[in-house]
């Protein structure tokens, strides 16, 4: 049974766009944010705080389009739209 998140995400078919449908609005808000909640609540590990670059990296190609980050970012700092028509995830079972 797949235990790691990469194994889990590997079970989903993705058609990745070249541009991200998820955009961090203000880099400063992430700098100010003490808790970095998005690093935890995302079910597909899209967000990670990069200590060296001091910014939130966005692995949009992992996104399963649930919308949690749109609602749960405490700074409302994530611009969230759907991937372009036909792009993003395609479930096989659902």
């Amino acid at each position: 049974m797949s235990e790691s998140i990469s194994d889990k995400l590997f079970t989903i078919r993705y058609k990745c766009d070249d541009v991200s449908h998820l955009i961090i609005k203000e880099r400063d808000s992430c700098l100010k944010c003490a808790k970095k909640d998005c690093n935890y609540f995302c079910p597909s590990d899209v967000y990670e705080w990069d200590k060296k670059q001091k910014l939130t990296t966005v692995a949009f190609e992992n996104c399963i389009e649930c919308g949690t980050c749109r609602i749960a970012c405490p700074y409302d700092n994530i611009e969230w739209v759907y991937p372009k028509g036909g792009y993003g995830i395609t479930y096989k079972y659902g």
């Binding site: 079970t11 389009e65 919308g67 949690t68 759907y82 036909g86 479930y91």
Partner: protein, 414 residues
């Protein structure tokens, strides 16, 4: 609408209907039958298993207190059944296409087009993709960006939605039938709470499909954020629980998925219609989370919207006043009645310490059951006393337990 001769476009952002859709897995016969009579007789109908037994499990650390009901009477006709959205949604959308609706897939509706206060169509992400219509039925799910564009609801709060993650796990048919005590296409649903949500407000589910199991855990987003637990770690922890582990062991994960569930209840329902638009299903927060019903509310609200629009077409009037017949249909149906009944639940879950309802009480219940069934030389009277004390202490004393019982009753009968 298509059956009544209206010209209908079915917009879908995925490659095909269902490509982007997931749910726990239960569909309800009655509300589907209202749309597609005797659908179960159709060859190729994508049912997984019809449900003959529903179990509710209160999980302790390595124990469970169970409650459930199995009845052969659920077979004739089926009460509900499990499904997988990729198959089901294609079958269901095909019904609309057969009736004359024009399918337009791989197309995102990005905004509504307005003329004054009227909605007259939608913008899409296709070149020259503006589509004009007398009525737009907003059915874009829990995130409902169209609902937001229209301004009928602001952003949901983290305490109005749950995040559920799920896996579809393959197991041979015979194993499923043996482990769950089933014959043929019979199926079982299990909802579990307690240990498996680590003290957060939420529930897990394990449903039987033909040759797969659907296993998932959902928790309120505000509490998930507070606890800093990875959603998939919750699912992995549930898999390790002895009661779950033995049912899924040897299985292979075929697919992982995640989805928000609107759980704001009655008070979160936005305005349902206006000049040139109606909103249905998850986009209108039409989910009865107490009974894990959603697909039936979605289908019925869609049917009501369709009927109201056909009536509006007859009048040649698509104004707010005309489309309000949709609101009236919802208001006089089980949708309004059920959501109203539980209108206090959301507030109760918000006010109560989730640790009490989802951790302390389930654990106390398990400990009490353990003590009651344990034969260790103590008298039965002593055992009863211990069991009652365990429950009372978990609630913070007799008065608090009574208060909680009273509040719970009120919340469920608002």
């Amino acid at each position: 609408m298509a059956r009544a001769g209206l010209s209908v476009v079915l917009l879908e952002r995925g490659e095909f209907p269902g490509a982007k859709n997931i749910f726990g897995g239960v569909l309800y016969r009655k509300q589907l039958e209202d749309i597609v009579p005797e659908f179960w007789k159709e060859k190729g109908f994508p049912m997984e298993r019809h449900i003959v037994e529903q179990r509710i499990w209160m999980m302790g650390k390595e124990s469970v207190v169970t409650f459930g009901h199995r009845n052969e009477a659920y077979k004739q006709p089926y009460n509900c059944f499990t499904g997988l959205r990729v198959k089901f949604d294609q079958w269901f959308a095909d019904k609309a296409v057969q009736a004359g609706a024009i399918p337009v897939y791989q197309t995102v509706a990005t905004d509504v087009i307005r003329e004054g206060s009227r909605v007259v169509g939608v913008k899409t992400d296709r070149a020259d993709g503006d589509l004009y219509a007398n009525v737009v039925v907003i059915a874009d799910g829990v995130n409902s960006l169209l609902g937001k564009a229209l301004g009928i609801h602001k952003e949901w709060r983290p305490d109005e939605v749950s995040l559920a993650v799920k896996e579809v796990i393959a197991l041979p048919k015979e194993k499923i039938e043996d482990r769950f005590n089933l014959e043929g296409d019979e199926g079982v649903t299990i909802e579990f709470m307690g240990e498996t949500t680590l003290g957060m407000a939420g529930m897990g589910f394990l449903y039987t499909n033909k040759e797969t199991l659907s296993l998932g855990v959902g928790v309120m987003v505000d509490q998930l954020r507070e606890k800093k637990v990875k959603p998939y770690a919750l699912l992995e922890a549930a898999k390790q629980h002895p009661m779950i582990r033995k049912l899924i062991q040897g299985g292979e994960t075929l697919e992982y998925s995640g989805h928000l569930i609107p759980e704001g209840g009655y008070h979160s329902i936005p305005p349902l219609s206006g000049d040139g638009w109606c909103v249905v299903g998850d986009a209108a927060q039409l989910v009865n989370f107490v009974h894990r019903e959603g697909t039936n509310l979605a289908m019925t609200s869609g049917r009501f919207a369709g009927e109201a629009i056909v009536e509006a077409k007859g009048r040649g009037d698509y104004s707010r006043a005309s489309l309000q017949s949709y609101d009236r249909k919802i208001r006089s149906s089980f949708i309004e009645a059920d959501l109203k009944k539980y209108k206090g639940m959301h507030q109760l879950l918000k006010e109560q310490d989730p640790e009490l309802l989802f951790d302390k009480l389930p654990h106390a219940l398990n400990e009490a059951a353990y003590q009651l069934f344990l034969v260790d030389g103590l008298s039965k009277a002593q055992k009863q006393k211990t069991a009652i004390k365990l429950i009372k202490d978990a609630a913070g004393g007799t008065v608090n337990l009574l208060k909680l019982g009273y509040k719970g009753w009120r919340a469920m009968n608002g």
